[in-house]
Amino acid sequence: MALYTKEERSKMAVGLFSLLLVAVMMRLFYLQVISHAAYTQVAEENYIRVVPLEAPRGLLYDRNGKLLVSNRPSYSIYFIPYQIKNPEEAFKDLSLKLNLSLATPSQLLRGQSKSKYQPIRLLRDVDFKTICVLEENSLDLPGIIYQVERARKYPPRGRGSHLWGYVAEISEAELTRFSHLGYRSGDLMGKKGVERQYDYLLRGQPGVSYLKVTAQGRILGPAGSREPVPPKPGADIKLTIDWELQSVAESLIALYGSGAAVAIDPKSGEILALVSQPNFDPNLFTGVLLDTVWQRLASDSLHPLLNRCLQGTYPPASTFKILTAAAGLESGRVTTRTLFKTCRGGLAFGNRVFKCWRPQGHGQLTLMDAIAQSCDIYFYQLGEEIGLDLWSDYARRSFFGQLTGIDLPSELSGIIPSMAYFDEEYGEGKWPRTLIVNLAIGQGEVLVTPLQMAVFFAAIANGGEILEPHLIRETKYPDGRLLRAQGELLGQLPFSPNTLGIMKAALVKAVNGARGTGRAAILPSVTVAGKTGTAQNPHGEDHAWFCCFAPAQDPQIAIAIVVENAGHGGSVAAPIAREMMATYLEGQLPSSGRKRVLMSEEEGFPWGE
């Protein structure tokens, strides 16, 4: 093979070098021109830390402007994926150092579309001690940072918990359902109660800030190249609740363990108190919810997460006699002077003997006295007289067996049995005709919620108007706009003014009459109208009912109370109602204004400041 000359060889050498040089230049062209935009974005993601700024959640006030639910500063721990070489090990180490159980990295990273340079929230609302430990070990824990955020601050000991529910991070299922509403992974969301119902008002809109960060994670200050977006705070809500009344009712029901109380302003449908016991501490949900705590809440046989006011369905017992009586009067089957067979403590229907609660009997009573003394024998006969069809028709038209439409999630409708219902339950015609006998005294298959009873009694009080019960009184938007909520008129009770007048008089007598069953609810300066009830409970002690309104002439409050496994309505529930009415009506008198202002100063900020 011929040897190349130096000329030829130098040309070959230059040729090879040029070829490689052109390759390098093409590479540079590819990186700096064709892929420039992509690399610019990566470079920014590199050094700009996107810090989401959570919007301050709207505050909750009571009807008098007392601050109930607010926000407090809290610490969240974040991790920056690319700074953690071995996530599994790092998390194990972290969980050991902080003495906390953590989700696994793969769980946290699943569904994360964010850049691995951006922090991902690991834990919300950790305590200050944990932050101290974190800070001490910060050199051994690269890629773990913390940030000050806000957490919800609820009144202690679960007070009012069934009103507002709680907030927690949005779940995956909720995210897919509500993503069109602008929720993003990691957002807080109301899970129950007012927090859930008015989440769209309370949550506001998150903002974002951009920080310049070195490779070692040192923050150099705001990144000048991007404008931060401040968060839009959520709207504040003034509830219809009277916190003093609510507190009194909560502590009274709590004495008996479990039960519910609903107080309504009969003129507007505003809920004055909504009590369900046992309650739960919503503060538990703001940060690290320990499995043990959740297990305890979920498996508690008393179901503290259940809002009994709208999710507890009970037989209304004797409180329903007022409805049966009204149905009888309105349909013309009886008048106030109609007499039935004498009460001797029991009466046979078909081949079964139905007993009165008073074994020695009531004698022969008129309608008024039968209500006042709650004679079962009278109402068995009245029920048979009216018949199932008509009775259930009146109950339905009084808005039982359907949702009241209160502004809280997961309300139950209860059951008003009809012929069709029994046909379905027992088979067509295979049920005894005497079922109506039991229904007439509010026992058997009829189920109502305390809320429905309160709405019904409020309607009796206000002359027959069914007002939609609601919890929101005023909304104050961050721009200062105020929006007053209006109670909606759902309909009328199917009773004439005359019938309503008789009902009212009977209820007054049931409390104030010499032989009234509700005498424990008597107030010295105010006439109370009400009806006791004692619901038979096959699983244990009877449930005590009391439903009432006051003052009878000009009703300002209607109440429904059920206390579980506590015994007689007259002895257990009626005194609670009396305390509640006393508390609320005293507050309504002008003379107590001074005391209220003092309380505002002590315990919270007045509305509007």
Partner: protein, 401 residues
């Protein structure tokens, strides 16, 4: 001082000064000590210029006569390094002389050029013997292994890479050089039997076309077969972490946190620079320390980020001027020894520039080679200017002639 070839010195000086500017920018605002490294680089440039003057002033004969001695001294220094060297980041590459530290491997590069030049200069015949090539490789094997042991993969690659360049210039047919290097390709191709089979087929066809001596042909076949058979066997016996290292070496994106991190960050720096760059001191990748080794091996990434494609092209053109002039000087050199010396020096410069830029742009795996004249470091600066000195020396003899 008449030995200054402006086509060599001017671009080298411009590159050195630009290097100082980039080092200033790369470390601007970092720790007190780091922020002043550009000042030290200025001193290194001054020392480099002195070395340049010295190297270009010595009579060419002396280099030719003392080449064996240089080689032995280089070997000795490399061996002494294991006893008296300074370790940094797990590598023992430096001797410290007062506040300065020097890498003997840089000196070894020059020594290898001179020894090879002398060896091949005496063998200028119409028929190039394969035996000479084998002997050339043997000569660099010892320093290359010593450097690899430090460990300094980049420098030992440079020492080996200079051999085929000088063999080519010494008259070995390019096809024979290719055959000589074929076992390396076999090694890589053997990771899949099909690619290896195809390569062997091509190799055999090439042997029939090129028709080397029977002995050489047999040697080529034997080494290729050995590479092809042993690679998979050795591979299977490697530990997982060893495999990971090699795979990361070949494909850095496999391990974005480890070795791949450097290349990814470098590509981001260069890519985000765009046409005209982010501006002096405006590079976020380098300023905020996302770019590793930004003042040494990855100085080109700082250039790409702050001065864009335009700055990169200017630098590459300056390097091209030096290299093309180097080839020209080699071509016109007075005698064969000087010609080979010039070509060897040019080969080293070209190799380091292409590999360094190739690494920073993600074309080549990370090897740890500095960019001549520009990367921070005294040894690299002295080597670069020594090579310019040698080239100027040769250029002078040509101009004089």
């Amino acid at each position: 001082m008449g030995r200054i070839d402006r086509y060599l010195v001017l671009p080298a000086l411009l590159l050195s000064l630009l290097g100082i500017v980039l080092i200033f920018s790369a470390l601007h605002g970092s720790s007190v000590q780091g922020g002043s490294l550009y000042l030290r680089q200025m001193i290194w440039l001054a020392v480099g210029l002195l070395v340049f003057v010295a190297v270009s002033s010595i009579a060419p004969r002396i280099y030719e006569n003392l080449s064996s001695l240089f080689y032995l001294v280089a070997l000795l220094l490399l061996i002494l390094l294991f006893f008296g060297g300074v370790s940094r980041l797990g590598a023992t590459r430096w001797f410290s002389i007062g506040p300065l530290s020097l890498q003997p491997s840089e000196f070894a590069k020059v020594a290898v050029i001179l020894l090879l030049a002398r060896y091949l200069a005496n063998r200028e015949r119409p028929q190039f013997r394969v035996r000479w090539a084998a002997f050339s490789f043997l000569m660099v094997l010892l320093p290359a292994l010593l450097i690899l042991k430090q460990p300094d993969l980049g420098s030992s690659l440079v020492v080996v890479a200079v051999v085929p360049g000088m063999l080519f210039w010494g008259g070995m047919p390019i096809t024979h050089i290719a055959l000589l290097l074929s076992p390396v390709v076999s090694l890589l191709a053997a990771f899949h039997w099909l690619s290896w089979a195809i390569f062997m087929l091509v190799l055999i066809v090439t042997l029939f076309v090129v028709r080397p001596t029977l002995r050489f042909a047999l040697w080529v076949l034997a080494t290729n077969l050995a590479a092809g058979i042993f690679t998979p066997l050795v591979w299977q016996r490697l530990h997982d972490y060893q495999k990971m290292r090699i795979l990361t070496f070949l494909n850095p994106a496999r391990d974005p946190q480890g070795g791949g991190y450097q290349i990814i960050q470098s590509k981001i720096a260069i890519g985000s620079g765009g046409l005209f760059g982010k501006g002096f001191l405006e590079g976020t990748q380098s300023k905020l320390a996302y770019l590793p080794a930004r003042h040494t091996d990855f100085i080109f990434s700082v250039l790409g980020e702050e001065f864009g494609l335009l700055g990169c092209l200017v630098v590459l053109i300056l390097f091209s001027v030096i290299i093309l002039r180097g080839v020209q000087v080699a071509r016109k050199a007075r005698n064969h020894f000087l010609s080979l010396t010039a070509f060897g020096a040019t080969t080293i410069l070209a190799f380091q520039v292409l590999v360094n830029v190739g690494v920073t742009t993600g074309l080549a795996p990370v090897t740890g080679l500095p960019l001549p004249f520009m990367s921070y470091g005294g040894s690299s600066m002295l080597l670069s200017w020594s090579l310019i000195g040698l080239l100027c020396l040769v250029s002078y003899t040509w101009q004089e002639y």
